[in-house]
């Protein structure tokens, strides 16, 4: 039942590295993470790979498989042609630590910069009432398993290190959208700060993030585009601009 698979693995660290060819047994139904583990146990005891649940629920085993950002635990070996070499490399948008493991701390820094949920001051525990249809919009975004594949694939930062400072990335646009659509959140201007402080305007809606999302979250259509439209409404609404003008005149 077992057959041989040609696997090409990137090995190295921040200073140096390259692709190494190995042959490994593969059994029916196995995913790419299974064969990486077999290489680890039998040929390369110190091969570095991040993983946790092996069930597509934790988002740890993110890597690039034949150049595409994927979860190794959800990629069936059988989805490739028999005899095809499978190439596994670390996420390209983040600095390599070792082998298939990258430094994803960028994402945790960005998470700290998104203002937290803000419930009404007089809301008491147990008294919240929300309609299922209203929570579902935010629930879609809360399905996110933080695999950061969307961050990795995004053109804005993938080959442009210089943009990282001013761009939070798709993962955090859905976080802002989730809070913005939360039925009880009272913090104002989430969309405006998404545009002004977190780089929403830099997104040019190529939908690459949506395509790689293992949770099938419609990142572009349901979070980014609605926020962009509302930002346009707020920032370039002639009625508001006129009201703003009046306000400024009154003040002066």
């Amino acid at each position: 039942m077992a057959r041989k698979l040609n696997l090409r693995i990137w090995r190295g660290d921040a200073t140096d590295g390259g692709l190494k060819d190995v042959q490994v047994d593969v059994n029916e139904g196995e995913v790419v993470l299974d064969v990486i583990h077999r290489v680890q146990a039998t040929q390369m005891g110190d091969l570095a790979v991040r993983w946790n649940c092996k069930a597509g629920k934790c988002g740890s085993c993110s890597m690039e498989i034949n150049g595409k950002p994927r979860l190794a635990c959800m990629t069936q070996v059988a989805s490739f042609e028999e005899g095809e070499t499978i190439t596994v490399t670390p996420l390209r948008a983040f600095p390599v630590i070792k082998d298939l493991v990258t430094d994803v701390s960028f994402n945790y820094k960005k998470a700290m910069e998104i203002p937290a949920y803000a419930p009404p001051a007089d809301l008491k525990p147990g008294e919240a009432r929300m309609e299922q249809v209203d929570v579902e919009r935010s629930q879609e975004f809360r399905k996110c398993i933080e695999c950061f594949l969307c961050q990795d694939v995004c053109h804005v930062v993938r080959d442009h290190e210089e943009n990282k400072k001013s761009f939070a990335g798709p993962r955090f646009f859905i976080r802002i959208a989730e809070l913005d659509m939360h039925p009880l959140d009272i913090l104002k201007n989430r969309k405006r700060t998404a545009q002004e402080e977190h780089g929403l305007g830099m997104c040019n809606i190529t939908k690459c993030c949506t395509e790689v999302c293992p949770e099938h979250i419609k990142i572009t259509d349901n979070a980014i585009i609605p926020m962009k439209e509302r930002v346009v409404d707020i920032k370039y609404d002639p009625a508001r601009m006129f009201a703003g003008l009046l306000k400024r005149e009154k003040r002066s």
Binding site: D13, N27, E28, G29, E30, V31, D34, Q40, A41, G45, D46, L47, A48, V49, R50, W51, N52, C53, K54, A55, G56, K57, C58, G59, S60, M74, Q76, I97, K98, D99, V101, V104, Y108, A111, M112, P115, A116, Y117, P119, L123, P125, G126, A128, R129, M130, E131, Q132, V135, S138, Q139, R142, K143, C144, I145, E146, L179, H182, D185
Partner: protein, 631 residues
Amino acid sequence: MTTEKIALERYKYDVLVIGAGGAGLRAAVEARESGLRVAIICKSLFGKAHTVMAEGGAAASMGNANSNDNWMVHFRDTMRGGKFLNHFRMAELHAKESPDRIWELEMWGALFDRTKEGKISQRNFGGHEYPRLAHVGDRTGLELIRTMQQKIVALQQADKREHGDYESHIKVFAELTITEILKENGKIAGAYGYWRESGSEVLFEAPAVIIATGGVGKTFKITSNSWEGTGDGHALALKAGANLVDMEFLQFHPTGMVWPPSVRGILVTESVRGEGGILTNNKGERFMFKYIPDVFKDKYADNEEEADRWYVDQDNNRRPPELLPRDEVARAINTEVKSGRGTEHGGVFLDVSKRISAEIIKKRLPSMWHQFYELAGVDITKEAMEVGPTCHYVMGGVEVEPDTAAAVGVPGLFAAGEVAGGMHGSNRLGGNSLSDLLVFGRRAGMGAAAYVKQNSSASVSDATVAAAAARIEAPFARTGGENSYSLHAELQEVTHNLVGIIRTGTELKEAIEAIAEIRKRSANVAVSGGRKFNPGFHLAFDLDNMLLVAESTAKSAISREESRGGHTRDDFPGMDAGWRQSNHIASFDGNQVSVRKQSLPFMPKELFDLFEVDELKKYMTPEEIAKGGSN
């Protein structure tokens, strides 16, 4: 090893939380909110803990779905589920405080599914008399983790505003393994470990340490647990002088995936049965009706018609037997398969497609649909799943004081969540672990805060540090020794074959010898490659922990000559009221684990009186019944 290297990184905190799953994060929030400086240590990235895999929900008697529910009903269900071996006080605190813990999460931004009135929706689960589980589809654990992760970020943002630094009062140390808990003069002084990324060593000095490391599943071959479930906290606590209570009780979840082999063990949530899934064997027989034990005869339907009616009218019908507590269902499936009535791949069928529509399945069980479709090529809206038992949860754990979560015998040490013992007795009900980690995570945070306020900061001696560092260096110094991957595989074979779902005295004796032999060889594990993100090196330490856990489990199991909950002895098939009065206490002398019996605290009259005497007679001795409570 030079002293410069040892001194590389040193931190001082008030409280050190080991583990960043639900219990650890809840404890950290509590300790921080009491004004303390807290370090959170996780073996993987922040937010990846095994809690994310909890699917079904968190049990709390909010009474949103059935107003008859209250803490007393929840307490009774929990004690029944655990076959009355639970620490009554833990079960009481848990039942009373769970609703507040769920509502609190909602205040922090959690978005649970709703009832028509806009309240938190509650679903049915095995062993719970009323629909009781707050849930978010079938990804409730992820919602819990994300909510607490974001609560911690919110606290860090407040610290940034007040002190100018996000990490002034609460810092997450991700991908760091703790190898030792340190004591000075009999009290907790800190912990020692290494960064997984670089292999460089770290010393934490803190007067209080909270262990919240979760479970032990990786000790077994077929498990629903992620790689992190290696019993680290159980072993760290043992080595620090704490006790483990009732380690023989392991929960084999009845429904894990069985095919294809690479996904064997991955959990299939109990919600599938809660939503109406039925179990059948290869003859098409709905077999659970044959396996209703006497103690549950009056609560479970003995025919299909009544079981089916229950889904629409719960007040006038008994529950379907698919919703018996997990130990009963797991044993039933095991018997069916062993009697030749299993599926092609050694499981049974679980089918939800005949009872509910494809649309509702995808809405209520989205990640199950996804998991079977992508990993097994099965569309659960059209066909049955193949399922079988998988090692899921350890009821045994660190012996603690219920109110403070303080580890018995070690001042400054606390434990909460799966790593703590007592709460679930011999078997945990589904949904009771997410509520357990919230209730006792908070209590551990409170307990540690109260302790720190009365015990000044700790410092660790150079000699203690040098010993901890030497232990980390040791496997690199050996050449041509044992391979940690092969030893781990051997251990898993032993536990699976000899300490599994059905046990016998002869096999357990064999297991104890085999585990000792592997432990002897593990002292000679050699690691290839350097310190930088080296999984072989990481496994060497995990292996040591798993060996201590396996030894505790096998030695407790051979001593308990009865069958109860998550411990089934083929040679002692009955439940024995005499044994109900005893816990097993495992301790470690630096060389081996020893196990002794200890009396289980008896519940006071006000809790005793919550039960019908006729029910208690099934579990207790006539003397206990006559006494009617401890006060």
